[in-house]
């Protein structure tokens, strides 16, 4: 049975007909064109589908679409209304990704972390990103980029 779902996507009010068993990831990708969130496993093991729901990182592949009624969702598309964020700029500078398929998920998890804790130490940061799998990079450049963001935020806070 179709349900008319209303929520906020990347700052815009959206209305979309969904079935009760439809997953948020499929609705975002197939019905709303927000394709930055990726399908990697379908069971919340790889993190490629990570989006923010009311600021919290969530695996959209196991989230029923109907659960987000009235909530505010941000995908990678919506992060950069004013151009690349500080985290994105650091990832660019450090060549943080190779194939890039995991990148949107990583950026969403990293965004949540930095919102909560602007200057995490390296182990806190690794812990926060441990639910996002990358098969290409060995993670070193992701760590380097995030350390730079944290250091920069530390300096700014000290000013």
């Amino acid at each position: 049975m179709n349900h008319i779902l209303k929520f906020n996507l990347n700052g815009e009010a959206v209305e979309v007909a969904v079935k009760s068993n439809e997953k948020l990831l499929d609705v975002l990708r197939d019905k709303l064109g927000a394709v930055s969130a990726k399908f990697g496993c379908g069971v919340a093991e790889c993190g490629a589908c990570t989006v923010l729901i009311d600021g919290l990182s969530v695996r959209s592949c196991i989230t029923f679409a109907v659960e987000v009624e009235g909530k505010s969702i941000v995908t990678l598309e919506g992060l950069q209304a004013d151009g690349p964020t500080k985290i994105q700029k650091a990832f660019i500078k450090h060549n943080a990704f190779q194939c890039g398929f995991c990148a949107p998920g990583f950026i969403m998890s990293a965004t949540e972390l930095i919102e909560k804790n602007p200057s995490p130490d390296e182990e806190e940061m690794r812990h926060a990103l441990s639910g996002n799998l990358c098969r290409c990079t060995g993670y070193q450049n992701i760590v380097n980029a995030m350390n730079e963001v944290a250091e920069d935020n530390r300096k700014e806070a000290g000013k």
């Binding site: 394709v35 660019i92 398929f101 990079t137 060995g138």
Partner: protein, 785 residues
Amino acid sequence: MKEVLKVVGHDAVRLDILEKVTGAAEYTDDIAFGPNLLHMAILGSPYAHAEIISIDTSEAKKLPGVRAVITGEDYPEKFGLYLKDKSIFPVDRVRQVGEQVAGVVATSYEIARNAIKLIKVEYKELPVILDPYDSVAEGAVLIHPELGNYVIEPWLEAQPGTNIGHLRRIRKGDIDKGFAEADEIVEGEYHIPHVAHTCIETHISVSKFSLDGRLTMWNSTQSPHTQRNIMATALGMAHKDVRVVAPPIGGGFGGKAGISMEVMAAAGAKSCPGHPVKLRWTREEEFYNSSQRTGLRNKVKIGFKKNGKIIAFKHEMFWDVGASAEYGSNVVNATGFSATGPYYIPNVYIDSKACYTNNPTCSAYRGFGYSEFSFGIESTMDKAAKIMGFDSVELRRINAIKEGEGVAYDVPMNPNGMIECIDKVAKEIGWGIEEKSDDPNKIIAKGFASVWKAPAMPANESSSAFIKFSEDGSINVMVSGMELGQGLLTVMGKIAAEVLGLTLDKVRVELPDTDRNPYEWQTVASHVTWSCGNAVKRAAIDAKNKILDTVQRAHYIDKSQLYLEDNGVKCTTQDSFYIPFSDFVITGIQTEHNNWVGGPILGSGMFMPEYTNAMVNPETGLGGHPMVHYTVGAGAVTVEIDKETGRMKVLKMAEAFDLGKAINPDLSKDQINGGFVQGLGTALWEECIFDEKGKMLNDGFTDYKIPTIVDVPRDMKPILVEVPQPDGPYGARGHSEHTMIPVMPAIANAVANGLGVRITDVPVTSEKVAMRMNDPKYKEDKKQL
């Protein structure tokens, strides 16, 4: 005068990083195909080996929304890259769990999945073979009884009437005499399980037969032209009417080389003309139905002289290639030629056998078999060092192959920096310096390994490239080498920029589209920097010559005095002479007579190694030149091991590879870090676990653990060595796969060095280390384990 390089050899931001970090990159599944899109689902076999008695699709066809149901009756022919032993959908029997028995195309994926459940298949179970030793045992059930009738490449040696899909032998020198003259003989027997590529993007194909009969495929692939060739040939279509588009790919690692599930999407599309048909693997299907890395059981026997020199080397390899050897046969072939490791050895005996089993089909996987066989060689080398009283790094130095010395198939070794790699890794890891843990329950140990690898290719593999200028003097480089994440776009762009005097911001490199971009064999074998790079360099030189001709004709300056720099043309004899490309590369140059000379500047280039020859004597493996060159390297780890639980933490890694010339040093180091971590997973945790019926018990990331950001060493030291490859662009050769190869033996050697226990079967899990560390059966000082 030494050429001063302005772009090549300097670090740069990847050409594709912006599209990946902004989410702009459109992977295959991200492309909008409109409301006409249909979805496909596949029925997999529950049995590892069974005859198909009947398939009843009548109920599935009745389900509303179903557009087509396809079985082997519709496609009886076999396909494959080197050995055509694979069915699109099998007619007679299934040979692995999950093998695709039927496909359904429907208006939604949900309907297609529901229809699959309505298909009734009657099977008769056959005996199951899951181990290569059982595969070659006398009286074993034949998995491919019709092996002798398959179409096969002339350089493969199938053994009809057995389960051996290919046998590669090397018989160099006199092996018996060699062992008779040896002062010490050390042996070992090893086992490597299947592992999986686990690209984060699963396989996907969207295929469409237009109403005019053309086939277009959007595939997540490393091999667009190879796929076009296979599809056109199989369908009896003109190549020009088959188009394969390669959107950005979410990981390859060999798993998306050749062709696999894409044929099913095309079969689905053939039944529904005018509709794009999407087939996307689930994660479970990705484990079963794409391909896995070859398993291996191998026996290594090395004879040494007192001075540490290897005099005789025998290596028997029984490869578990799974249900099909269509691509795995080439893994077996390549390793058959190379399974000595990077050592000069006068007497060599190698048997490399592709053993069919009822495990999932194996094909290319980063390292192409070299990780698997190097584990046994490097473990045996360490054992030998201990027995003979050599430092294990020194034993590798003593035997390191030098330029001009004969490899296993007796062709001279290319220039290489093997000793430099060994020494730099030993120094970086602090070889010989003892380290102690602060925790009395833990020890710190180090392990080392030397490796090599050659690209495994048909003798006439080739690459080609087009370059076209635009009005503003920027260029589009068109190649069909694929950006897998390894940095191909950046490397090709830099080579073109270097030749053409362009800054990198003027360069764009296009992903493959067989309608538009010129031919490339495949992006595999770590060979595109070398092969495709040569083609791009020649295309750039072609464009450069046209530019110089144009300027010479317009300005009456001899072109020997002209050179390209700063996005334009300069002159060695007139300092003030400078014409920016934007002035003329499309419009040409206006002369004093007001006519125009020149026109749009285009360049084309191609490369094929003309010295290779795969047609060796099948009895000896000699008489040909099957490999183009080897890239050598070494790796070492520092591991902290808990003496009670066996739990291991890799504290540091150092790896060095001789890549001839680093076109982009930072990206090359990234390959070392990434390859090391992928190797770390296979060394410590990764293993496809099957029950006795061939069902995989860990087909998800919860049970099949790959390294996360918390699992990796905090100290990673990638090292680049540059001994130029004579026929490489700017001296470059590939090194991306190689970075995985040292990891498994380095870890096992560290465990042996620290605890005196030799683990001969990977993964080297904490559980194995804990269970065996006090078991005399696994004591390191035994000559044979």
